[in-house]
């Protein structure tokens, strides 16, 4: 516990990390407590009135309204929920799957390893967004579907990193010692190898979570992401895109700014984490 405290205080000595941390916290709280912080639930049809449509930012609706009269400020907070939920969930799942595959592949080698590598190779010969696009376009919209899609395209990166770390560690003496002591495989995997693999995995996750959120936003923007009933920030931006040309800029711009700030906050935290864990740089 003392280690954690020391680590955290050192981590936040950086002004940038502090700023990112505060911002991220702000967004998380806003997303979690959205119903309490917003004047309306924009997806409850009984709370919106068409005559309020396309109002510019002002006193009654802080950030303006969209084509259905939905309050943009409220929509953003609810959208944050979806964006964060999808981003975090898909990162967690792909991390788990990647860890599992990477550990098994690196440790046991042989045909399992070859098979997993082949699979990863095939998948990596495509840009992630393309695969996700195809999956979602054919499967249809849906929050759980998009989490699955993003997980599918992301696990490979974790698996690859984990595998290369395991291959390196496998040769080291402490593993040899563990085997000589007669330790069972799963004990070695989870007891010895896992802790050493976690650090690069967490570093990778900090990079990938931002990418996951952007991927979801992009797919939703293209109309193949989350459904209209549970929109994310990407959907909101897409929504406002058509009316951009008629001058109703606030419908797209405000969600866009929030999305950008969210990613910046995550990247600031991720950067600081990498700095603290690996001070001499390198990619």
């Amino acid at each position: 516990m003392k280690h954690l405290y020391a680590f955290t205080s050192r981590f936040f000595k950086s002004k940038r990390a502090l700023f990112g941390g505060v911002l991220f916290l702000l967004f998380t709280v806003a997303a979690l407590f959205a119903p309490l912080l917003t004047p309306q639930n924009p997806y409850d049809l009984t709370q919106i009135y068409l005559q309020n449509s396309f109002l510019p930012p002002g006193s009654s609706f802080w950030l303006g309204t969209d084509e259905m009269g939905r309050d943009i400020y409220s929509a953003i907070l609810y959208g944050l929920r979806t964006s964060l939920y999808v981003g975090i969930a898909s990162t967690l799942f792909s991390m788990l799957i990647g860890l599992g595959m990477g550990l098994v592949s690196g440790y046991f080698g042989g045909w399992i390893d070859r098979m997993i590598i082949r699979l990863a190779d095939i998948q990596l010969s495509f840009p992630a967004i393309l695969i996700a696009l195809i999956i979602m376009a054919l499967w249809g919209q849906g929050i759980n579907k998009i989490i699955v899609a993003i997980t599918i395209v992301s696990w490979v990166y974790y698996a690859r990193t984990v595998r290369s770390v395991v291959l390196q560690e496998k040769e080291k003496e402490y593993i040899e010692a563990a085997r000589a002591l007669g330790m069972r495989h799963h004990h070695i995997l989870f007891g010895e190898l896992l802790p050493n693999v976690l650090s690069p995995v967490i570093v990778l996750a900090t990079v990938r979570i931002a990418y996951a959120i952007i991927l979801e936003a992009t797919l939703s923007f293209l109309g193949v992401g989350v459904p209209m009933t549970k929109p994310s920030l990407g959907t909101l931006i897409s929504n406002g895109y058509e009316v951009l040309f008629s001058g109703d800029w606030w419908v797209s711009i405000f969600p866009g700014i929030v999305l950008m700030l969210l990613i910046i906050a995550i990247n600031l935290l991720g950067d600081r984490l990498r700095e603290v864990l690996n001070p001499s740089g390198g990619f």
Binding site: Y241, W249, S252, M260, G281
Partner: protein, 317 residues
């Protein structure tokens, strides 16, 4: 060397085969394109007729076998939507996409590497702070968002740049005419921004690692000039692994052209694939994916080859 190449070719062939199989299967399961192609009041007879014409009436394996047969003749099927050979349909639009991707990568490298070097060398000073601030923002902005902001600024507000379409094309490229350039500016900027920011960060990070190495310290102890140390020793050692990463990024860049082309109505493969997916135009989807995979694999291969030649540790075992 020859072994390496043959090995790679075989591996590539397997990968392409697997891709074609998976895609074929997914598209097969995805739905019935015939429903989309015929008007809703078409008769059952017409449906059966169309299905037969398009070769969709056999079982999955019969259809796949047919596909492989055509493949062996260098033919990738005929587009359900356009009625033309799928391969032609894709290849026709490829130059437009490549134009965007190549230009974006070019500018990203041209501007990104020097800025990354500067940020690494001026560690802790204002140059680094500004450059890294800019690059952090750059990778935090989704491609579609930057496109939108550019359109808002330059098309809607100031009305100085066109928001859609490709300009006059000359010699496969639209970069040779003023009209073409006007149409290129926003899409290319959109694509470049993310890559630029990424390359700055990768270069800075790589340089910092190299500059912390013992041989750099020894070079300083020998009294070598700063520029010699930074460029001949520092940058050279950074570029070798960096090059691999950048090569792989090119594939991601092509993927992002999908979004860019959609927003700017750019007549490339991006728009094509989206339409094809939505209309369940299987031959085009398969053709597109195979070509993309081929491009990716070719890039990977080139990069690996280059690496082998440039890094003496690998070249001379």
């Amino acid at each position: 060397m020859l072994r390496f190449i043959l090995d790679r070719l075989w591996h590539t062939f397997l990968v392409l085969l697997a891709i074609s199989f998976i895609t074929f299967f997914i598209m097969y399961k995805a739905g019935d394109p015939v429903q989309l192609l015929l008007p809703p009041d078409a008769t059952q007879a017409q449906v059966i007729q169309m299905r037969h014409t398009l070769g969709l009436d056999g079982s999955f394996f019969i259809q796949y076998k047919g596909f492989l047969l055509q493949l062996s003749h260098g033919h990738l099927g005929t587009s359900f939507l356009y009625g033309e050979p799928a391969l032609t349909v894709v290849l026709e639009r490829l130059p437009a996409t490549l134009e965007l991707a190549v230009l974006a990568m070019f500018f990203a490298i041209l501007i990104g590497i020097p800025l990354g070097v500067s940020a690494a060398v001026h560690h802790g000073k204002w140059q680094e702070k500004i450059i890294m601030f800019f690059s952090l923002t750059g990778i935090s902005i989704p491609v579609f968002w930057i496109a939108m902001v550019l359109v808002l600024l330059f098309s809607v507000t100031f009305n100085i740049l066109p928001s859609s379409g490709r300009g006059t094309v000359y010699l496969f490229s639209s970069a040779f005419t003023w009209d073409g350039i006007r149409h290129l500016i926003m899409p290319v900027t959109t694509l470049t921004l993310f890559q630029l920011a990424l390359i700055i960060r990768l270069t800075q990070s790589g340089m910092r690692e190299v500059l912390s190495k013992e041989y750099i310290r020894f070079a300083r102890a020998r009294g070598l000039s700063p520029s010699r140390i930074i460029y001949t020793h520092g940058l050279r050692n950074t570029l070798i692994p960096l090059m691999t990463v950048i090569g792989l990024q090119f594939g991601q860049l092509i993927a992002f052209t999908i979004v860019t082309e959609t927003i700017f109505a750019w007549p490339g493969t991006g728009k094509l694939i989206i339409d094809a997916i939505q209309n369940l135009d299987r031959p085009v989807v398969v053709a597109y994916l195979l070509i993309i995979a081929l491009i990716f694999v070719a890039i990977n291969f080139t990069v690996d080859l280059l690496y082998t030649f440039i890094d003496p540790r690998i070249r001379l075992r």
